[in-house]
Symmetry: C2
Subunit: 154 residues, 2 copies
DNA sequence: ATGATATTGAGACTTAATTGCAATGAAAAA
DNA sequence: TTTTTCATTGCAATTAAGTCTCAATATCAT
C-alpha cells in the first residue's frame, strides 16, 4: 500500500467510525477489514470482487456481512453506486476524491472521467428552480471513444 | 387510447418493423402486442407491470417473451432503461418524446423532469474535447423534493 | 468485568432474469 | 397457394444477486 493511500485509509477509518458512533452502531473488525479491502482497489469494485479480495488478504468474511456493510458505507458517503455498466451493481470509492462525471464507451467499456464546473453550477440552478434539495447526482454519457469510433467507421 | 397516442403507436410500429427487418428478425403478433402495451403506460414500466398489462388486455404473453423483446426495443431506440429507482429495472417509452433529465426524490420517489439547453450544449462540448462520440446520456440528480424536505426539517 | 444488544456466518430463501427444448408460426422461396 | 426454413414462443428448470433467519459471538458503555 502506498503512503498516501495509507493516510487516506486512516482518515476514512475515522470518518466511518464517527458515522457508526452517531448511529449507535459498532465498528467491528469485519467492517474495518471491508473498508481496508475497498482501499486496495484502484477505484471500482462489486460485492463479488470485494469478497474475493478479502479472501486473498486472508480474511473470510461472509457475503451477508459485506452486503450489510454496503448501505452503511453508502450512507456515510465513503462510496457511491457506480454507473450501472453491465449486470452487477458496482461501487466506487469516493473518499477524498473530487466529484466527476463519466463518458462510457459502449464498445470497449473504457471510462473517461471529466469535471465541468459550468455543468455543476447549472445543475444547482435547476434544483433551485424546482425547490429541490440535491444530495448527489450522476451524469453518464454513453457513446464511442476515439479508438472505437475509428474502428467502427472502417 | 387518445388520437395522438394512436398515431404515435403506428409510427413506433413502423420503426420497430424496420428495425426487425434489418436484423432479419420477425415482427410477431407477440411483439406487436408488447409494443402496444408499452404505449398504454403513461411512460415508465417494468417487466412485471408489462406482463400484467398484457393480461388485462386479454393477452397472455410469457415473461420469457417479454424479457426477450426488451433488448430489441432498447436497440431500436423505442425505449430506454430508466433511472434505477429502486430494485427492479424499469424502462421508459421514449419514442417521439423530447429528451429530458431527472430529479429523483429519494424520500417519496417522485420524479421531476427537466430539460436544460445549456447543460446539453456543455455536454457536447465535453465530448468534443475528449474526441468522444455520444450516443445518449443520462443525468439524474437525487435529493429531496420540496414537500419531503419540509417534512424532514420538522 | 459485566451486561445489553448489535453483529456475524451459514445456509435457506426470494425474486429477477436467462436458458433449453419441443411445438409453433412468420415469411421467403417454390 | 403450398412448401420449407428457421426464428420465435411458452413452459419449466436454472442461475444468480441479494435478503433473511437464527444461534453464537463480539463490541462497548457502564
Amino acid at each position: 500500500m502506498k503512503k498516501n493511500e495509507e493516510i487516506q485509509l486512516i482518515n476514512a477509518d475515522q470518518k466511518f467510525e464517527e458515522f457508526l458512533k452517531l448511529k449507535e452502531l459498532k465498528y467491528t473488525s469485519e467492517r474495518k477489514l471491508i473498508l481496508k479491502a475497498i482501499f486496495s482497489f484502484d477505484k471500482h469494485f462489486n460485492v463479488e470482487e470485494l469478497f474475493e479480495k478479502l479472501r486473498e488478504q486472508g480474511n473470510h468474511i461472509s457475503r451477508a456481512t459485506i452486503y450489510r456493510a454496503i448501505p452503511l458505507l453508502l450512507q456515510s458517503g465513503l462510496i457511491t453506486e457506480a454507473l450501472h455498466c453491465q449486470d452487477k451493481t458496482s461501487y466506487e470509492n469516493v473518499f477524498n476524491r473530487e466529484h466527476h462525471d463519466h463518458l462510457v464507451c459502449t464498445n470497449c467499456g473504457k471510462i473517461i472521467e471529466f469535471y465541468n464546473e459550468k455543468i455543476e453550477k447549472l445543475q444547482e440552478e435547476v434544483c433551485r428552480q424546482h425547490n429541490f434539495v440535491p444530495i448527489e447526482h450522476r451524469l453518464g454519457i454513453k457513446g464511442y471513444c476515439e479508438d472505437c469510433y475509428k474502428k467502427l467507421k472502417k
